[in-house]
Symmetry: C2
Subunit: 395 residues, 2 copies
């Protein structure tokens, strides 16, 4: 019998996708250059040249059977050794290949981790604003989401509300820094405070609470902002990483989970992540793109464009009178809606061909997300439209 | 809390993998050329040249952002249109792009289909011998497996036992033709009879029963054997396809689900498959390998080597006195163990450095699987070892 929950998940198009489809229709009507579509978090800069070069070289020189063959389920051992070496050199993680499980991108990293550590009757704590699929992956395990409301001063962590959210039911806590949709980066002081609170909660409730660090935007930070490496501060950390944004390869689905070498139940949780991957139908991460990674670790696609976009857009919006904080990372601006209902504001923005995403979907009403992973030309051309929109609100 | 079921799945290495690891140890001890490892179903022939050529051309000529970007969740529309056109031309399926959902390989195809149509309290019928991961994917949905014992005369379908297995609980039936591990191909007459039985059961129990056709070996058949295209015979068919074996790309994880255009609940089950893919953490199938497919539809990697291997091995084993049927497809021989306990036989075979897989894992005790996707040289060199082993049993 058709599983209704799955049918509903397949039928309900996300709000972001709806806006993007509206944009497609408008592009046909009035020309792509006249639609200011800020809806999708799809990298707009190409992969570093080294990516294509390394792929071509492997295809020309490697034996087809080994290049395209199955890797072991947790991933090619040499690839995992390279990543461990890179993490140790860069963040002093103390990682071994046996701490790493290669995945089919960040969504697969998250779903494997959540299926490994959360189940019916348990809770996964998330901080608003958060990526809406966290709910889907959590509920798939039988656990439920416990939402900590946003700290609107800086979009880091609302510590007062966190204290209320933790309980004997807490299986895991998800953080996402740099954050989608706010662009906020959690400071070292906040990570230290979070680690203290979670350690106390582990003690109080007598079981491990996993801190899942969802980090697809780790390298997308500006102005020398530091993104603390979480395993240093909290032992029971699972890092979910993806190369989608850093290497502009979102469609290729390649990432990994790092189980902190210091995790108290290290071997059991690593096995459970491997088992969850198996149960969900992941055989191995794509072989060619696994083998690409040793050639590209530490590389980042053109950050200067994103920074220029951020600066232009931040200046333009601020001088038009909108209220927003300059984001430190990722490629999103999270702006206060000038009217309480962000959906109504987004509708009004459409009159100026500005396509923005209401914060409601990220559990943060009253805000809009503006994805600036677009051409700089689009940013420049959109500023008069934003200015005209601001005028409607007498900003 | 760590999910024990997942931990167990991660800790328990499959029997096949155990044998392969034993082989790795022996290869180090006595040299690879002296170990006759028939354990793994990993294609031994390279991908067709057109695969590497098309990949290189795309990497040299295509825009990086669109080549590596997200595709829509069900897959790139142009790719799906090409596959539909190929299926229509080749099998007269009447497929549209909206019948196709691109997946991260056959395991993902199966897990998405099973999560879409089966749940707690329901049963999924499988025919022994069958691929052991069917159990994992089925149990992940909350449903349980109902095993129809093998028809040992031809390893097609044991129709008498099937009648007993069907009930109001039956959500789906899985067939796998050409079969892993037997190499059997289900004949058109058997497909017709199966379709009649399932249609009668749908009528009797008042709900749809999905026929899941797991077809990664569709093109790997010899001597002009026909593999009937199942949608022609039964409306409620879900075809799970993978390019792993046909194009020798098992590590790249690329395949699709075809929902039969005639399925009674077509739109609902298609949505449920999309929803299941989403819930399991699949965002899209790998973009570069999706875009490769229109260049390679209908191509098959070197079948002549597999056929030669099959013929040499079949002749050699038969003339040594072993009992086996010549397989029509895939790259496996399924041979009767000369003693009742196939595990004991496999242990004895190890004395001759012959690594075989007991049929027990495929729910078919008393048989062994011999994967002949190896070098022809290995086949030739192994025949004296098989002959010596046969002598131990006075065959």
């Amino acid at each position: 019998m058709i599983v209704k929950k799955m049918q509903a998940l397949g039928e309900k198009r996300s709000v972001i996708r709806e806006i993007f489809e509206y944009g497609n229709a408008r592009r046909k009507e009035i020309g792509a250059e006249n639609v200011f579509d800020f809806s999708l978090g799809n990298p707009s800069v190409p992969a570093p040249d080294a990516v294509g070069e390394a792929l071509i070289k492997m295809l020309q020189e490697s034996d087809s059977v080994s290049l395209h063959g199955y890797t072991s389920a947790p991933g090619d051992l040499g690839v995992r050794a390279s990543i461990a070496e890179y993490l140790n050199k860069t963040y002093n993680v103390g990682a071994k290949p046996s701490d790493l499980y290669m995945t089919v991108g960040a969504a697969a990293s998250l779903s494997a981790c959540l299926s490994a550590v959360a189940g019916a009757g348990e809770e996964v704590v998330v901080f608003a604003p958060f990526f809406p699929e966290y709910r889907v992956f959590t509920e798939q395990t039988g656990a439920s989401l416990r939402i900590v409301p946003a700290d609107e001063t800086n979009f880091e962590i609302n510590f007062d509300a966190l204290a209320d959210a933790l309980s004997e039911k807490t299986a895991a806590v998800i953080i996402n820094s740099p954050n989608n949709p706010s662009g906020a980066v959690i400071s070292e002081a906040s990570i230290i405070r979070l680690a203290e609170i979670l350690s106390a909660a582990e003690e109080k409730y007598g079981h491990v609470i996993y801190l899942i660090a969802d980090e697809p935007y780790r390298e997308l930070v500006y102005d020398d902002i530091a993104v603390p490496y979480v395993t240093k501060y909290y032992d029971d950390t699972l890092v979910c990483y993806s190369f989608s944004k850093s290497l502009s390869l979102p469609g290729e689905r390649i990432g990994y989970v790092l189980v902190s070498p210091t995790a108290k139940e290290h071997d059991a949780v690593y096995a459970a992540i491997c088992g969850a991957g198996r149960a969900l139908g992941y055989v191995c991460a794509p072989s060619l793109f696994q083998k690409l990674l040793p050639h590209c670790l530490g590389m980042v696609s053109d950050l200067a464009t994103y920074k220029l976009n951020r600066d232009l857009l931040y200046e333009g919006l601020s001088s038009s009178g909108f209220t927003l904080k300059k984001p430190d990372g990722a490629f999103y601006l999270f702006m206060k809606s000038p009217e309480a209902d962000a959906n109504a504001f987004c509708e009004r923005a459409k009159k100026y061909e500005l396509l923005l995403v209401p914060g409601d979907d990220f559990a943060c009403p009253g805000y809009v997300r503006i994805a600036y992973c677009v051409t700089t030309e689009q940013i420049r051309r959109s500023l008069p439209a934003f200015a005209a929109l601001a005028k409607e609100y007498s900003l």
